[in-house]
Symmetry: C3
Subunit: 396 residues, 3 copies
């Protein structure tokens, strides 16, 4: 992209409404207006273009970003580290130990104590239904209080790096990938997406990706068919919210009972395993009482139940039902015959889409950086213009 | 603060004596002159003011700071990370494992090997009486030798992030808080401080905070009443040193046997649990011989003994004996009915002072940054002026 | 060094051939031409000189470096951290757990996923013969593919921080030390090096240092005598390669059966323990099958066998056979009576060379930084000139 094209993109960004972003957190995409989401995409695209031109996107000279991973993570950890590095923030990891439960006052105190220099707090907390989002809100309230009380000189923004409800950094990267694939955000209108459950020989995968997908893509005019075996339903309130958003956008969001049906005529397929909502709830209850034996029994029972749906695998045969669909996945995928005996996707399908899948993942650092920048500066367009101008002064 | 006010503060700093700071370590406050301590406060204040004006306090373009935590820490870890980030240093953690004992030659070699690019080494080593301070001195000697031998191109300064004897980054932050609360360093003269033991259902808390407080505050004209149950005395040599310093300053430092007595007419109260010196010594001996059973017996015995002093709790009733005193704590506090059944402080007292307590903690990153800057640059006033000038060139 | 002298060094660097370095990895010194190795030394020397003049060597404004340590490390970790810091890169550690075995597709995906902003990937993987180098090549191929596929916007370079075959950051630092000790690279010609096995009460030390030494020093005209007890031979293909390189350089590389013989008339001695190649191979086989008991038996057997060669210790008596030789070690050494009862070197010899040994280690950060810079910029001389010019603009 030329400097001129970047400048035009910045000019278009200047006109976008950003009021739901400044000094706010990014927890759920449906808390944000459509225009704000488009602004995030635009900022991400400009940051990527600047970097492509070897122009520094460093916004801060110093400043911390805090990461807290209450579940293992390699990809998201590196995406967050990359995003913060792009902007000039230094990541410090807050490792409280995964098992610790968060109590109100402790959360408030710890969140305040680590935030004296923090611009952003990235949290992954996806293991227990009813917990992750609540924890992120508690952290956000704590730093808001700290800021209002004059204890914190700046109000760090909490970025949801995956919770029990939504996975906005993933789905916004997915959206960027779709925009690139179809050639513009307008081109998404009317496109059909199959968000389908798929078999995996594992247990307890979060619901946040399918929930995030059905809560986001319909807002951009995409028709979503959600498919899963009986009993693998998502959180009812999220489904209700997604239906509401789809209705507002005037598009169809339907639930169906087979991968075949969802794939029929699809432009995009997103086959991915998740645990039934009911199992996740029981698991949270048992984790609280600490009954190890019952937890193991639940895992055993769930794995056995899962195994009844090994047919839910994305194969080339299934792909042939689609309109030459784009295969998507948040990675890592369970690839049949590669990472497991039988899994979410056949090896030939995965191999055909390996490069696009890696590109899909490549949007995440820019999306996260855009979320941070939009939350932490009054005028992101001016910040981006400044990066461009500084580079031109240097070379000029 | 305006740029003009900052410039005036820098001008006053220029006149201060700093010779005990340059290329030295910061291990104990009583190793430093009063003027040097005031200079640290002044530098911290200026750094804070610069940051408040959104002026970069980055002093280094690159450079490492090493942190070594031989005891768990979240707050101090983030304070050190924040301080280093403010100045442009990248923290690398030296994690040798908590249990490892330090031998002379190994300390020398490891300290040298990690210090080729290091400007500062922050160490927390507070678990064993007679060990932490000795270890820090060994590290300081190692890097001094490395520098004199031409192995190290710069001599990193060791910053005590809490040892068995003193906790200078805490008490200097406490001092900054007191200066702000009372409206100037001169206003501290004649103010009464109750440094009191308080009950906690825990065992083996370090003596460094009360020792650091009695060794520092009298030097600024504050009258300190140290209160604890029989047997909970501090290290005799530290008490002797504190008495000597109090005498020099012409103020009273007295030891009394009840919280009630210490609180009477106090302007400041600092109720906090610690382990008896004798118990800490026995624990160190037992840790050396590695006798697990005896260590557990000591813990059991100590907890039982502690429980006889549950009355040592900071309540509003006790607070009413004071002259509307400021309540201080290094955090986290054991709050009765919140973090434990019975603890150091009643929930209503803590809640009333929550915001000031968080502010107290907020001085620590600036104090640490000031210690590093004062140790690593010939002329801190010039360094601070440079930050101001650079910002004005940019905007000018 | 004055700015003028630095400028002259940069001018000489400009004439050197660097084509085997740009956008390549640094895995084995014998993959690189002699001129390229000299260029690395020159860049390292200039970086050191710039830093000595307090001139920033920051080349990147932002950017990541990934470190992956599949074996414990303190020194190399800090050397890599220092090198990256010198150049402006932020290190993020990829900690997969030491025990995990690398499978093709997983390596490709993980390497790509973490590399979106990465300029360099430093890997230590020295535990298993036949594994470390293969793993590094797999990572290098993955990021090469990612770059060619347009998934990665830049192609990070893999830096070998010690594998099963070579330890180039160590041996290049050793070479820089030798150049400094003898007063120039030309002065190395004809100098005699004793690379000797030495006794250590440990098991399974990698072969990479002796292999790296015999593969590197003969290329600069040094005559190497490799000494070890029967059965402690190195990898046959590495010995063959080293013989080929020595023959090309017209120097002698001989294997002898005693330390005494190797030390005779030596200008440099490098006595260091390593495990027999055959033992390392057996260990890798057993680690694969996971037979714990057999692994323990192998360790026991090896330690007993080692103990037959306690006479292989570097003493002053042995040193007297040399031509006032320089004693070298990659550290930490097993020092008799200090870090163990009987070890690689007598305490008096080690003490006499402690300062030079620390200096030897001090070259490593600069060598690593030089490897990264040479791999990541078209024209390192211009990059270094830029650092100098920027500093002069500032002070001018």
């Amino acid at each position: 992209m030329t400097a001129r094209e970047i400048r035009e993109k910045i000019a278009r960004l200047e006109k976008k409404r950003l009021r739901d972003l400044l000094r706010r957190d990014f927890l759920l995409t449906w808390d944000k207006g459509r225009e704000e989401l488009e602004a995030i995409l635009a900022i991400a695209e400009i940051l990527r273009a600047l970097r492509g031109e070897n122009i520094s996107t460093r916004f801060w000279d110093s400043g911390l970003a805090i990461s807290q991973f209450r579940d293992n993570s390699t990809r998201t950890r590196f995406s967050f580290a990359s995003a913060c590095n792009l902007l000039g923030l230094t990541v410090v990891d807050l490792d409280e130990g995964k098992s610790q439960l968060a109590h109100g006052e402790t959360v408030r105190e710890t969140a305040t104590m680590v935030s004296f220099m923090a611009e952003a707090i990235g949290i992954r907390d996806d293991l227990y239904i009813g917990r992750g989002h609540a924890y992120m809100k508690a952290v956000a309230e704590a730093v808001e209080k700290g800021f209002l009380d004059g204890v914190l000189e700046q109000r760090p923004s909490v970025i949801n790096l995956q919770c029990d409800i939504d996975h906005p950094t993933q789905t916004m990267a997915d959206l960027a990938h779709l925009v690139s694939h179809f050639g513009g955000i307008e081109a998404l209108k009317g496109k059909k997406v199959a968000m389908s459950w798929a078999y995996s020989p594992s247990y307890g995968k979060p619901l946040s990706v399918p929930q995030g997908v059905i809560g986001l893509l319909p807002r951009f005019g995409m028709e979503v068919a959600l498919a899963h075996p009986e009993g693998y339903s998502l959180m009812p309130e999220v489904l209700a919210k997604a239906r509401e958003l789809a209705a507002e956008a005037g598009v169809d969001l339907r639930v169906c009972g087979s991968m075949e049906e969802a794939f029929e005529g699809a432009d995009v397929v997103y086959p991915k395993s998740w645990a039934p909502f009911a199992v996740m709830e029981e698991r949270t209850r048992l984790a609280e009482t600490g009954d190890r034996r019952q937890l193991e029994e639940l895992e055993q029972r769930s794995l056995e139940h899962n195994a009844r749906f090994k047919g839910w695998q994305c194969t080339e045969k299934l792909m042939s039902r689609t309109r030459d669909a784009l295969y998507m996945h948040c990675l890592p995928a369970d690839i049949s015959g590669v990472s497991c005996a039988e899994g979410e996707v056949a090896a030939d399908v995965f191999e055909r889409f390996r490069v696009p899948l890696y590109r899909q993942a490549g949007y995440k650092p820019y999306v996260i950086a855009a979320m941070i920048l939009a939350a932490r500066t009054e005028n992101p367009a001016a910040a981006l213009s400044g990066m461009l101008a500084k580079a031109q002064n240097r070379s000029g």
